[in-house]
């Protein structure tokens, strides 16, 4: 392997510093004894224990998780169906328009998505709150799921579905017995992506929220306006921990599966030779 030149070291340090310095600072100060955020006064975990007594934050966390679970699940169903329609029925009229429209929310400024959803909810007289946030989150995370699932479907050998039909499975059974199990990893990734997006969304939630439905990012944002407290740092550290854990677990699982697959394939070829 090539030796590390000074230039390489410098660019790596700069790059990682740029990405992670703010996060590291936040984590460090969450263990600060002092109530003043920028003055270090010794190590303490008291802000973490205080979190459990802050009912407002806990409520917000609970709302966020419920919105996340519900919206990610609905978005996964809708996004998977959209992806199937786009990949499979390539001959239907208006496909290009439809696929463009599914992906529009990816590039649409969140402010516009949020505002238009708000206008819609007002127009149809829907009381704003938990359900409107959930609906809004389904709307904007669905397209991310569609993208992930679509890329999997493009490399999917359609003849295995034909084989299932040929062997007597109805189209519905074929979907559940063959298609879904094969694309399941992509569908799951889509779900995780949708859940994460929902978890940290601030803009769209702010537009579509109502009384009694404050999500964690909204709560944090509103508290920060009154001044950053070490408590906020603590809850952010916990969120970072959860996300990091999820990423690590997912990548370990993928690595393991790949390693096993490779081993199996080697064994199969050794058996022929």
């Amino acid at each position: 392997m090539e030796r590390w030149s000074r230039f390489n070291i410098a660019s790596v340090v700069l790059g990682f510093g740029f990405l992670y310095l703010p996060i590291v600072l936040l984590v460090i100060f969450s263990f600060n004894e002092s109530k003043l955020v920028t003055v270090w006064a010794g190590f303490s975990t008291k802000w973490y224990s205080q979190l459990w007594h802050n009912q407002g934050l806990l409520d917000a966390a609970w709302v966020t998780i419920r919105v996340g679970l519900l919206s990610a699940t609905c978005a996964t169903v809708l996004g998977t169906l959209a992806a199937l329609a786009l990949v499979r029925y390539s001959r239907f009229r208006g496909r290009v328009l439809f696929s463009g429209m599914v992906y529009a929310p990816l590039v649409m400024p969140e402010v516009i998505t949020g505002l238009s959803l708000l206008l819609l909810f007002v127009a149809i007289g829907l009381d704003r709150g938990f359900w409107t946030i959930t609906l809004a989150h389904i709307t904007f995370t669905m397209c991310f799921v569609a993208v992930v699932v679509q890329s999997r479907l493009l490399s999917f050998d359609q003849s295995i579905e034909e084989a299932a039909l040929d062997l007597g499975a109805t189209p519905v059974r074929t979907f559940f017995a063959i298609t879904l199990p094969v694309i399941a990893p992509a569908v799951f990734s889509g779900w995780v992506l949708a859940f994460t997006l929902s978890l940290d969304d601030l803009v769209i939630s702010s537009f579509t929220t109502g009384p009694g439905a404050t999500t964690l990012p909204m709560k944090i944002y509103s508290q920060v306006r009154l001044g950053v407290t070490p408590e906020i740092n603590a809850i952010c550290t916990i969120m970072i921990g959860i996300v990091a854990l999820g990423v690590v677990v997912a990548s370990i699982l993928t690595k393991r599966r790949e390693a096993r697959r490779e081993k199996d394939e080697r064994a199969a070829f050794a058996a022929i030779g």
Partner: protein
């Protein structure tokens, strides 16, 4: 056992018997994709227990026809009758046919066992019977030891056998095979060809195979339909296709051929005389009714052309002088390219029946090529 199969095969010719009823009848079927006509007003009869091959270059419509038999495509017009039943509007999962896919299309998330059992489960067969049938199929394709493996843990040849076992598990009336050996290497392919033939005879099934490999079709099939541009050009036994092609296309598509263009000088009493454009007077046995002066061509296979140093007794009829232009030594035989006086290159092959010949023919030698009156076929233009 092989001997008795051979005798069955020799006497098997239901297509020649006007009393026998076709098992599959394709009647005036056309399939269009937008402006493109994939299958063009095609009619075919396939008989019970026949090994039928659809042969053609890619894009000739053979796969589309197979997919219409399986039910994945619906004919734009015309109808397909299978065992007395019109297949129009019947979806693939209700047809008594099964297909073996070119890509094998094994279910990647299921074991070999479950792949084979899949079709049986769809039929609601009781579990003990499924287990029994799966064991039977595994034995048939010699994969008993691999029942618990997943497809990615198998070699290409093993996957091919799983696909075959899966498509045979339901005992379909007809097995459709889409380039079933395309992904195997040459040696394995040749072995598998004979395995497939034995299997078809043993199970007494009707096989319809799609292939672009003429050798494969010639080896395995009872009859071959040569297809081009969505139409069937000729349907006949391998021997008829090779020895009596009905058109330039078939003559050229199957095997090597020398085509001599010319004009008819006389045609009577089962014999046709043609003067080729190169000036060779040819006399060929043929019952074709041809007018004097009509354009026609003679197709002669390379192995039916003789090479000699001296002029044959019947020269100049059915004979021409030339020089050896190229020699291709293939081991079992040698192919000579002989350049005639008018520049036409004729291919002639001769079997290497002995290990060494004294004074073999060499490059640039002056030789005569000649052929008998029954060596070739007269083709109308």
């Amino acid at each position: 056992m092989m001997k008795s199969l051979g005798s069955i095969r020799r006497s098997f010719a239901p297509w020649a018997d006007p009393a026998s009823k076709p098992f599959i009848s394709v009647k005036n079927v056309t399939k269009k994709f937008g402006d493109f006509t994939a299958v063009d007003d095609l009619s075919l009869n396939i008989y019970t227990r026949e090994f039928f091959a659809l042969l053609g270059a890619s894009g000739c419509g053979k796969s589309t026809l197979l997919r219409m038999l399986a039910g994945f495509e619906q004919p734009t017009s015309g109808e397909i009758i299978l065992d007395g039943q019109n297949l129009a509007g019947i979806p693939p999962y209700r047809r008594p046919v099964n297909m073996m896919f070119q890509s094998y299309a094994l279910f990647p998330h299921m074991t070999v066992e479950n792949n084979i059992a899949f079709g049986l489960k769809q039929d609601g067969m009781p579990k003990p019977e499924i287990a029994e049938r799966v064991a039977q199929m595994l034995k048939l394709v010699k994969l008993e030891k691999f029942a618990k493996r997943k497809p990615h843990q198998l070699s290409g040849g093993q996957r091919q056998r799983v696909a075959l076992a899966r498509s045979l598990a339901k005992r379909p009336k007809v097995l459709l095979l889409d380039e079933p050996l395309g992904a195997l290497d040459k040696k394995l392919r040749e072995e598998t060809q004979f395995e497939l033939m034995d299997l078809q005879q043993e199970l007494g099934l009707t096989f319809v195979i799609v292939t672009h490999d003429q050798e494969e079709a010639m080896t395995m099939a009872d009859r071959i339909a040569v297809m081009s541009h969505g139409k069937v050009v000729q349907v006949a036994t391998p021997a008829e296709i090779y020895e009596a092609p009905n058109s330039r296309f078939v003559a050229d598509f199957i095997g090597d051929v020398n085509l001599f263009d010319g004009a008819v000088t006389s045609a009577e009493g089962g014999s046709v005389r043609i003067k080729t454009t190169g000036g060779i007077p040819v006399r060929m046995a043929s019952s074709e009714k041809l007018a004097n002066g009509a354009r026609a061509a003679i197709a002669i296979r390379p192995e039916k052309i003789r090479i000699s140093r001296q002029a044959p007794a019947h020269a100049p009829v059915n004979a021409a002088e030339g020089e050896i232009w190229d020699i291709g030594y293939l081991g079992d035989m040698t192919v000579f390219h002989v350049r005639l006086k008018d520049g036409k290159v004729v291919k002639a092959s001769s079997l290497n029946a002995v290990r060494a010949v004294e004074d073999p023919l060499g490059y640039d030698q002056q030789v005569w090529i000649s052929f008998g009156e029954d060596a070739g076929v007269v083709l109308k233009d």
